[in-house]
């Protein structure tokens, strides 16, 4: 046996091309990693191998010992071996896939025209590729009907191809065991027993991993054909985990969020609560549509220049002392927005009077990874605020003092301290309250000037998750015409107040932040890529408490 260079991985050949693999890796995993197409249904990298769909058949022409395998092998169950030769495209393989696909279709209803999976259905894709287009099955098909099996998903059992991914999901991923395999042979069903509803908080994933249209999201049923959807990579802002998502939208309306694989954050998963955050992205009723200014005690629409002009005029009239300026923000804001707001206070007003709510929160601990995805901190950027050293809470003495010392100028970003009415009461008396926000709330009611920002799906920015990983969102849909991203608003405001800066994109803001803020040193926007980067110097979060996950 030749000695392997200790830095080189062992190799085998797929269709004549060398492919590296890790010892113990399955053929399919190595093949998919290097972009080979091996059709499969039951194999999922996150779950155990059952090798039951039989679709991933490959021809092993050399087992690594000079001998071929006697028959076609399933790529999901066979370990790759040094010197092995695999063919995935020859006629034998083609015929094997054809016959497996034929078997899968004999009892499939072929109701693609009314199936939501249509367009992203593995069965449909492979049937197109390997199907004959004509069925020789002339008996009535197996019928078992539609089932309401949970809060988030529905089961159309006729479409099921018994790949058992959903069964393995509730056993191996969530540990909730709601699904099972029942009966046997032709009668085999994979579902919840006697239509018992599911209770786990991750049902949407079952729709994702279902290779056919058997399990679909109720929320998305009959809403839009999937091929019409455009996709953008983003971050779920439903909590501080920062699961990677794909925002799927059409004609500027968002239809669903799907998890985007990131092994360092959410693996392949996303919770149902996170999926539902798409609703807020489409919210229009409570959105602030244009800049507003208070005229005779009433908020009225004004232009951006009027808004900036009014603020600059009032500030120069007052020329407030540092302790008379206060900024409050929530931790829904991106790193760039927090950084610029902090910078504005420092550069223009020479103050560090910036506070955000930092309530204690709970991190779940569990034998099942997926349960650790849900945190009680429902804001996406608490760790970013901590890294920027923005401090404070409703109860801290510093904030109390700042609020009670009757500040003259108050900037509010988002909806901080919404439950602390005494803070709002106190700040009502300030001479100038500027609210930067997306939705109308109690702050916009007391504000003198309201500057409309944009929602996550409409702007780009970075967020720091609970594990100090900085990740970027993408612009998915077009924002309302008269709104602007908050980083731009703060930059323009800074200019109006006399300190010109030249940020033309949030990327530029981020890169400036990496220069000025210690915690972000060494990062760069360009290098965040799809997976994000971890802060080199981690900040300690004393508000975190680890608790046992409730299933």
């Amino acid at each position: 046996m030749p000695l392997l260079n200790e830095f080189s991985m062992p190799e085998f050949h797929i269709d004549g091309e060398p492919v590296e693999f890790e010892p113990g890796e399955k053929i399919i995993s190595a093949a998919l990693r290097c972009g080979k197409v091996i059709p499969h249904y039951c194999y999922h990298p996150g779950m155990s191998v059952v090798a039951t769909c039989r679709m991933c058949l490959v021809d092993v022409t050399d087992l690594g010992n000079g001998h071929p395998a006697p028959k076609l092998q399933t790529a999901c169950s066979m370990d790759a071996a040094e010197g092995m030769k695999i063919e995935t495209l020859n006629q034998k393989v083609e015929e094997g896939r054809k016959l497996v696909n034929e078997f899968l279709l004999v009892n499939h209803p072929l109701d693609c025209p009314i199936c939501d999976q249509s367009g992203e259905c593995a069965l449909q894709d492979y049937a197109f590729e390997y199907g004959s287009g004509k069925s020789e099955m002339d008996y009535s098909k197996r019928v078992s009907g539609w089932r309401d099996i949970g809060t988030f998903v529905a089961l159309e059992r006729n479409r099921c191809i018994q790949c058992s991914r959903c069964d393995r999901f509730t056993r191996e991923i969530t540990g909730t065991n709601e699904f099972g395999m029942f009966n046997r042979g032709h009668e085999l069903t994979v579902d919840t027993y006697a239509d018992r509803p599911m209770t786990n908080k991750f049902q949407g994933n079952m729709a994702d991993i279902c290779p056919v249209g058997a399990i679909t999201e109720k929320e998305f049923r009959f809403k839009r054909r999937v091929w019409k959807l455009k996709k953008n990579h983003s971050i779920c802002t439903g909590c501080s985990t920062g699961c990677n998502v794909t925002i799927e939208h059409d004609r500027n309306e968002i239809f669903r969020l799907k998890p985007h694989e990131n092994q360092s954050v959410n693996k392949w998963w996303l919770c149902d609560e996170g999926r539902l955050t798409y609703r807020m992205m489409n919210e229009r009723k409570t959105r602030i549509h244009q800049p507003l200014g208070r005229v005779d005690g009433k908020l009225e629409g004004i232009s951006w220049n009027e808004a900036y002009g009014a603020i600059a005029e009032r500030v120069s009239e007052m020329s407030p002392l540092p302790q008379e300026v206060l900024a409050l923000t929530d931790t829904h804001a991106s790193n760039e927005e927090l950084f610029l707001l902090q910078k504005l206070l420092k550069d223009i007003f020479s103050t560090e009077n910036i506070f955000c709510p930092l309530p204690n929160w709970e991190q779940s601990e569990s034998d099942f990874f997926i349960n650790t995805l849900i945190t009680s901190d429902k804001t996406p950027n608490r760790a970013g605020a901590l890294a920027l050293k923005i401090k404070g809470d409703a109860k801290t003495a510093k904030l109390k003092k700042a609020v009670e010392s009757d500040p003259k100028v108050v900037f509010v970003l988002g909806n901080p301290f919404e439950a602390e009415s005494e803070i709002q009461e106190q700040l009502k008396r300030a001479q100038l309250v500027v609210h930067l926000g997306i939705f109308h709330n109690s702050w916009s009611e007391i504000a003198d000037v309201v500057l409309p920002g944009q929602y996550y799906s409409e702007k780009d920015g970075t967020f720091t998750n609970k594990n100090q990983r900085v990740q970027a969102t993408e612009i998915a849909v077009q924002a309302l015409r008269r709104t602007r991203p908050e980083w731009q608003i703060i930059a323009e405001l800074s200019k109006a107040l006399g300190r010109e800066n030249t940020f033309a994109s949030s990327a530029q803001v981020f890169n400036a932040m990496t220069q000025e803020v210690k915690a972000f040193k060494g990062l760069s926007y360009e290098n965040l890529g799809g997976l994000g980067s971890v802060l080199t110097k981690k900040t300690r979060d004393s508000g975190m408490k680890v608790v046992k996950a409730q299933i």
């Binding site: 076609l72 899968l104 191809i161 046997r184 042979g185 032709h186």
Partner: protein, 419 residues
Amino acid sequence: MLEETLVLFKNIRNTKYDKSLAAYKKSGGYKSLKKVFGMKPEDVVQEVKESGIRGRGGAGFPTGLKWSFMAKGTGKPSYLVANADESEPGTCKDRELMLKDPHLFLEGMMIGCYAVGCHHGYIYVRGEFFPSIKILNAAVDELYADGLLGPDPLGSGFNLDLTIHTGAGAYICGEESALLDSLEGKRGQPRVKPPFPAVSGFNGCPTSVNNVETLACMPFIFSEGGVDAFKSFGPQNNSGTHLVSLSGHVNRPGVYELRMDVNMKDIIYDIGGGIRNGKKLKGVIPGGSSSPVMKADEVDVLYNFDDLAKIGAMMGSAAIMVFDEDTDIVKLLHRITRFYAHESCGQCTPCREGTQWTKQIVRDFLSGNGSEEKLKRLDRVGGNMLGTSLCALGDAAAMPIQSFVNKFPEEFRKYYATA
């Protein structure tokens, strides 16, 4: 007149034998075990290899080789599981052994346990075998009372427990990995291999699964001169006597112990007394319902693993089902396809869909809806199950279908020619 060769049935054919421990001991029982306890386990395995015994469950895999594959030094316990889930249609030999001479099998089981280093052996008996379960349990109780089971039997220092485990009705649990899943308390669905049971079997520990008859041969193999005598009972690579379950349209159906160099024709016409009611032979299913069918003119062949394999048949579990000239081949095949459709576990695609579909096609012929096209389709769909399913049940379902269609096409044609 062809005679039985009595090794396994030595006691059973003795009408005075009462299958008790005392009677078994009187006939020389548990002497081999004592001899084995004096040997090193690896020598025991070596001796089994030399005897040339091949598994009697159907696949005919060399038993000694199987035992030598057992993973060693894993730090986990090793297990020996006896496969008494006899459910291949036509096969009823293990039931005879368990009902009528349980101690022969149990002694073999204990020898096997010693060979593979198993301190707790399990006997997986199919649930429908109520009488066998009772008898085995009683025999095991006798052994515990006698001190042959439990701590330090025969002063060997080798602690040994045996447990009778009952199945609950599933043909597929005769497949070794499905049997292990069932033994673990799960649905009996065959596992992906590798890992093979010898590496990761019962509860993830090294396990060997052996047929009852295979284990019952052990006392003889380890008797005085046993290995040589065992080898002399058949041609090379087909050593030993074996139990042949003869059923169907013969005058004397039954379980017979025969050498492996006996002609199948003689089994049917001599041992079995020929076809009943003076009819003519139409064909036989030579090794359980999973084996390809043979026509009457093919039965002049030595009944053993290799000679049958040479002509494209298989001995399987040595169950010969004989059918006469009046038998409706299509009805027979329909019954076989019904069996596989009922017994498929359903987890893998070709078997789940194929067994049902072929059943439906065969039924079409019976209901007068056959056609040449459907005959071709039956052959094609059957063939598609072959070699593509996860375990051997898909192959087992496919082989009879293809052989029936290819050997008796005129029988199918009769159905739609007259329709």
